[in-house]
Symmetry: C2
Subunit: 335 residues, 2 copies
């Protein structure tokens, strides 16, 4: 197994240096002063101060972060979906029949309307051809290679550069404050493991996500894991508390999300009768990133926005609260 | 959620103190000198020494431990099965119909032959009545309370005192050497979470086990997890590499087991073409614990014993290799 996550990613390192150097002054330098920044710092300060009424012992400091739209870009389509479409194109020469077979025909012709009409059945067929039929290590290698070449259609940058600098700072800040940080995403667990350890400094064992069935087999006499084209677990919506319970075994004390897929995770986290932190990233910045919420097909934020007001979660206004969106110095490149 | 694991257990602490005090001299004081002790120390020394040909970077130092028969006693019946039988008896007053309904009748009458004949179907019914129909927190509380009162039939001690002192030392030693230690057991993940964090100092997120389906529901308007009487995952045999991949996301570099249920985990761990450690606890001590292997119904060690010779795993001869079995000073109490 090719493991490269032992180096933290450059961005995580930068965030770490900033955090270490500025710990006493400003742990979140890419944030404008405002209620969101204050709420995060006040929570971390209060629950980590010995003798505080809100003190949380270190083993219980579990913080969960959604990935798509919370830690990195999810528009105009989920990054994992962009990967799947590119894989269909890359594999097409080995499958001449796809020219006349849906949903592959639609992918090859860029016919997104037909692709959308193929619905879940179409998605499953694409996942089967692009995500299954290999070992987890082989799949991760495919994802890693794709990430080195694929570019975001609007920003012209690698997808794994389109992570949110302010959120990297939150992860580093919380980790430096004794929190164990987990990703809890609707995205594929093995897809994320291909970049998240290096990008966010979060080890593979602290990544929770959706999965397909993986089996143990002997191939040429050697013990091997093999990915099958069958859904194992959907880590979205009500699945997130279930996935958290299965993988982490503790109820988080802080949770960060951005869409209705995070509603149950945030509700379960904050319904504890104790000081807790629920945070929603609200995409309000069409200039520097995207602006979307109640009507969006990708990352719809509707019920969770109503719940945020009711349950007094912190809502980040990206345009107002973030000084920078993507890692510093590169955010305007290629627009 | 009632979380008590923030203190390490007394035994883990003792092991930790011993390990810290004697790190330069003897990290495994409850072990007799011999090939097993030497193999474990040589492995840890070689893979943690910078510049060594066998050096393993810290993030890849994943060690997995089976629980039943590897970290604590599993005879004459699995502890979790003893719990289930006791729960049937405790719940019987609320279920008068059980007096005439199998497999409950057999449990109440101590008729183990009829119970065994009820097979898997009977087991599932017992699990449904004793493990499901409650939240994970409620279930863990039930297990914790049971552990404070239940006694092992031969040793007359709490089950969670019947852990293996030499293995506590191995866990502490490996952790002090930069290994992340995980439990990977055929036992129930939530059952283990009730005692393993306190006993072994291993957090809930580093426990992998079998599970029943858990769902997210709203009960009286509050977000709640609920355990259903349906098998979700069996973390045994070929399920162990699958569970490891799902939860840990890395192939271990060291694995400890004691039965055929650990065969695939050990094979997958050691089939890496690099320095790896596979260890089998062979129960050879009828005096101080039990002696069993190829013919045993509980914890059968047959194929894995053959594989150990073939794959050059380290086989611990409990009688010869362990100075003490259970934590010091109490092991003869109540025999």
């Amino acid at each position: 197994m090719d493991i490269r996550y032992i180096r933290l990613g450059i961005m995580a390192l930068v965030a770490g240096w900033i955090s270490a150097a500025a710990a006493q002054t400003d742990p979140l330098p890419s944030w404008n002063d405002g209620s969101a920044k204050q709420a995060i710092i006040a929570f971390v300060t209060d629950v980590t101060r010995e003798g505080s009424a809100d003190f949380i012992p270190e083993p219980e400091r579990i913080a969960t972060f959604d990935n798509d739209g919370t830690l990195w870009i999810e528009q105009p389509i989920y990054v994992q979906f962009a990967f799947a479409l590119d894989r269909v194109k890359a594999l097409a020469p080995q499958h001449p029949e796809w020219k006349n077979t849906q949903p592959f025909k639609a992918v090859l012709e860029g016919d997104m309307a037909t692709l959308a009409a193929a619905g879940e059945k179409g998605d499953v067929e694409i996942v089967a051809m692009t995500h299954a039929g290999m070992t987890p290590a082989e799949f991760q290698q495919t994802v890693k290679e794709w990430l080195t070449t694929a570019k975001h259609p609007r920003f012209g940058r690698r997808y794994d550069e389109l992570v949110y600098q302010p959120m990297l700072e939150v992860i580093a800040y919380m980790r430096a404050s004794g929190f164990k940080t987990f990703i809890v995403s609707g995205g594929g667990i093995e897809f994320m493991r291909a970049f998240a350890p290096e990008r966010y400094g979060i080890p593979p064992s602290q990544i929770v996500g959706s999965s397909i069935v993986t089996t143990f087999e002997r191939r040429d006499g050697r013990p091997t894991l093999f990915r099958l084209p069958k859904v194992n677990f959907v880590d979205d919506g009500p699945g997130k508390p279930v996935g958290i319970n299965q993988h982490i075994g503790l109820r988080p004390v802080a949770a960060f999300g951005n869409s209705d897929g995070d509603l149950e995770m945030l509700q379960w986290t904050t319904d504890a009768g104790k000081r807790r932190l629920g945070v929603i990233v609200h995409h309000t910045d069409a200039e520097r990133e995207y602006a979307y919420d109640r009507q969006s097909k990708v990352g719809r934020l509707d019920k969770a926005l109503d719940a945020a007001a009711l349950d007094r979660w912190t809502v980040i206004d990206m345009k107002r609260d973030w000084k920078t969106v993507f890692p510093a110095g590169q955010e305007d490149r290629g627009r």
